[in-house]
């Protein structure tokens, strides 16, 4: 619990830097509000740009959490204990950031409420609204439930702490005393949520893919888009957990809780998802290539040889093949190697989302020539602010709650005396 008690100068510097980037993004957004979306690179032909790529990217990362931790819980994988909290937190934070992007992309954000009042259920945008808000609510509950015993632990053990912490912990711990009945109810609640959250998570990214798949556009109208997006989401989700694990392990000195074994397990899971994603990618592009209708070839040649080829090949080689090699070869399957692979996956999959959204938009549907698009400083600033905001939320979270679940780790240690986490030393975490 040390990070909850002591805060160094570096922390404040780090937070200030992140807050500055977020502030810059807010300024960029204010100019967009003032002068209209003309401040972006989007125009009539390419009316979706990096905002929508970012939306898909963050919703993808959000699958880290909940899905991984839920699956590991349901299958009773014991090594999950020190990493579930982190995974669940990623979900909630990535969702909160990701869900902002469709709103940032609105020309009239003040009319958002109309979507609730007059939205029609036959519009995929309304499906998005329903599924994302369900997912956000569900994953917040799913993050909160396993936090309750820990919050009670902070309430009882943090002595010399600020008044707001005392009050916060008292309220949020809901009078947890650790009685048998409370434990039973909590376990039941967590199990139920773990099972509910899996189909919800799958449906969310499926619905996100449908805002593309339900159109009549070449490059989007694909029946495998749902599973393709879900696999991509879990893929980037795992990569994000690995990066977060490495960062927190180093900064908060969690080496005794998060061990190489965790990296290896998640790394192998990442490899499986990588191969699955390669499989889907081949399916998606080979069928289009073999059908070779004029419109498909028009788009594909732009991707493979044309103006988008750099993005496309960076995605294919840097995001799929190189990470697979790094993980598959035992010599490079070190913590450092896995972190590099994970960062590559996340960057490359951002480009993949870019390549899904923009070329299809630019590809002319009538004989009118290609659309043009290049993101402006406003779009880049808001994108940078979203990443900084994501890290900022995470940093603040790790100062208010422990990033490793104390009670779950100690429970695991009790069950197996030789287990990884030295649970009873929870006070040092």
């Amino acid at each position: 619990m040390l990070p909850l008690q002591k805060t160094g100068v570096n922390f404040y510097l780090f937070v200030a830097a992140l807050a500055a980037i977020v502030g810059w993004g807010l300024y960029a957004y204010s100019t967009q509000l003032k002068d209209g979306l003309a401040t972006t690179g989007m125009r009539d032909l390419v009316s979706w740009g990096v905002y929508i790529s970012n939306f898909v990217f963050f919703i993808g990362i959000s699958h880290a959490g909940t899905l991984i931790s839920a699956i590991l819980r349901v299958t009773n994988a014991d090594w999950r204990r020190p990493v579930t909290r982190m995974a669940e937190a990623i979900t909630v934070m990535a969702l909160m950031i990701g869900a902002l992007f469709p709103i940032i992309d609105l020309g009239r954000p003040e009319r958002m409420l109309n979507l609730l009042m007059y939205g029609r259920i036959d519009s995929p945008i309304v499906w998005d609204l329903i599924s994302i808000s369900t997912y956000l609510t569900g994953s917040m509950i799913y993050l909160y439930l396993p936090l309750i015993p820990d919050i009670a632990h902070y309430r009882d053990n943090l002595q010399n702490t600020s008044w707001w912490r005392k009050r916060l912990y008292r309220i949020l711990s809901l009078g947890w005393k650790g009685t048998e009945e409370q434990k039973k109810n909590l376990e039941r609640g967590i199990s139920v949520m773990a099972i509910i959250i899996i189909p919800v998570a799958v449906s969310v990214h499926t619905v996100v893919s449908w805002i593309f798949g339900m159109t009549l556009r070449v490059g989007w109208r694909s029946s495998i888009f749902g599973p393709y997006f879900v696999v991509g989401a879990i893929f980037t989700g795992i990569a994000s957990i690995i990066v977060a694990m490495a960062a927190f392990r180093k900064i908060y000195h969690l080496e005794s809780y998060i061990t190489y074994q965790h990296f290896k397990n998640l790394g192998l899971l990442l490899l499986v998802l990588d191969i699955a994603y390669i499989y889907f990618t081949i399916n998606e592009y080979l069928t289009a290539l073999y059908n070779a209708t004029d419109s498909e070839l028009h788009l594909l040649s732009a991707l493979i040889f044309g103006p988008y080829s750099l993005d496309f090949w960076f995605f294919a080689v840097g995001g799929l093949i190189i990470p697979a090699v790094i993980i598959a070869v035992p010599a490079t399957r070190t913590i450092g190697g896995l972190v590099i692979a994970s960062i590559l996956v996340n960057i490359a999959l951002w480009f993949k989302r870019y390549v899904i959204v923009i070329p299809t938009m630019a590809n002319p549907q009538l004989p009118i020539g290609w659309g043009q698009y290049a993101p402006t400083w406003v779009e880049w600033s808001i994108t940078a602010a979203s990443i900084a905001g994501f890290i900022l939320l995470f940093t603040v979270f790790s100062k208010v709650f422990t990033i490793v679940s104390i009670w779950e780790v100690s429970e695991g240690a009790e069950g197996q005396p030789n287990a990884v986490g030295k649970g009873h030393k929870g006070g040092n975490a």
Binding site: G36, R43, S47, L106, G107, R108, T215, R217, M361, Q365
Partner: protein
């Protein structure tokens, strides 16, 4: 915007220019006038002019320039006009091989195109 297979919609990316006349019109949900930044628009065949008994601006302008290539009318009445001549819609489409874009999508657009007629082909060859 993203879903329309004809790119028929347009967006007011910034504050659109306003004509003095437009400023006098009271806002009505029937017409996208006055234009507003941040909203999507689509050609509605100048519904405000049609309700006054005038032809859409593009039809009028085309005929005034001596081309008369655009016809407008009511499908139920089966009559279209370019301001100079009034013809039976179904007959003209049949005779001049009128077609629509992306028929296979089943979106039944109400805009049809007339290929260049024999007179035009002749002119081109000459």
């Amino acid at each position: 915007m993203a879903a329309c297979p004809y790119n028929a919609r347009s967006f007011n990316w910034s504050e659109p220019p306003h004509s003095p006349g437009e400023r006098l019109i009271k806002y009505s949900p029937e017409y996208p006038v006055p234009h507003r930044v941040g909203t999507v628009e689509k050609c509605m065949f100048c519904a405000h002019r049609v309700s006054m008994g005038r032809l859409p601006a593009c039809v009028e302008a085309c005929t005034n320039e001596g081309m008369g290539a655009i016809f407008f009318g009511d499908r139920n009445e089966d009559v279209v006009t370019n301001g100079k001549e009034t013809v039976k819609f179904s007959e003209m489409i049949e005779k001049r091989h009128g077609y629509r874009y992306k028929e296979e999508f089943g979106t039944h657009p109400r805009v049809l195109y007339l290929p260049a007629g024999p007179a035009h082909v002749h002119k081109k060859r000459a």
